[in-house]
Amino acid sequence: MSAQTIPFPTAARQPPRSKQLLALLPGTLLLFAIGLAGKALESLGIFLRAHHHYFPRIEYVLWAIILGLVISNVFSVPAIFRPGVATYELWLKLGIVLVAAKFVFADVLHIGGMSLVLVAIELALSLTVMTILGKIFRLPPKLTSLLAIGSSICGVTAIMAAQPAIDADEQDTTTAIAAILALGALALFTFPVIGHLLHMGQQPYGIWAGLAVDNTAEATVTGALYGDLAGRFAILAKTARSAFIGFVVLGYAIYWASQGQAARVERKALFLWQKFPKFILGFMALSILASLGFFSAGQLASLGNLSKWAFLPAFAGVGLRTQLRDLVTQGWRPILVGVLGEIFIALITLGMVLAVYHHGAAQ
């Protein structure tokens, strides 16, 4: 999440900045069109059901994802749209920063602090288990490292941050990313069902989604599918988890350097800052402003609504970038290691969240 200032794909001569930005337009419009179509379908459903017609009871979040999944998996996304589809990350982070206005900063410190403790335990256990699973199923060691990093912290972002640091090859990186994205898509459809079966409250469910689902986008959606409040708490827990990215990647970089298979990290503090997801600073800044009474209640409501508008294209992007066929084309061993590891992480985080809320440690 930290090193996005990277030139456009590897052309010998870069096009001018204006052309690069213009190239983003079609895909960005596609994201908004899908998001708005999802919102329109939700409204259509409400209208039709009110007039005694059948229409599936599906919220805009799921409609946007379904439409994106259908377009990318049935029709494939034309090349002209692809640069702009990547802007889903901007809308996602914009939504996250804006939603901070709905949090009192004391809650951010309290719930975020509690999440940090849970994340630390989750990290230690999941990194260990993924490493053991990788050895059992004889995955290449660096692929195991990438899968462990991706599943324990923040998915694709963590893998991308780790790739140069541990000098992983392209094939391992592609495999790890495909596995993490495909598994994230499965979480979207399984977590809300489990949450309802266990009658989980909005807050514990949101914390669970934020702790267990790998990618920030999928964690946000998995929370939002359960409810607005759950979505916000998923973001808070996920943000706390993302803050660990630098430390974990640094640990792996030092390990692989000690094996003579990666470059040494000379300036560790700079390395940590480069890997730190900076949007967290924006999240905290807006939460502090809101807590200091900088905004009226109506203005806070407007900021909350604006965050929903920002999430709309981000949700569409989650569907558009998910390739379900990757579940079968990446080979069964990385997927199996991923599935087993994810089930383990989901179970231990669920156990921790239920224990914390059962004992009333979090309110």
Partner: protein, 37 residues
Amino acid sequence: MESPTRKLAFNVDAAAIAIALTFAALIRLNIIHRITW
């Protein structure tokens, strides 16, 4: 899509913070009065 990790030509975190704070300022100054959902 062959590349789910395509990078953008600008810093996403900085852009997200800048846009969010700009909107927050416009709303605080009542230049934008209300955003509905």
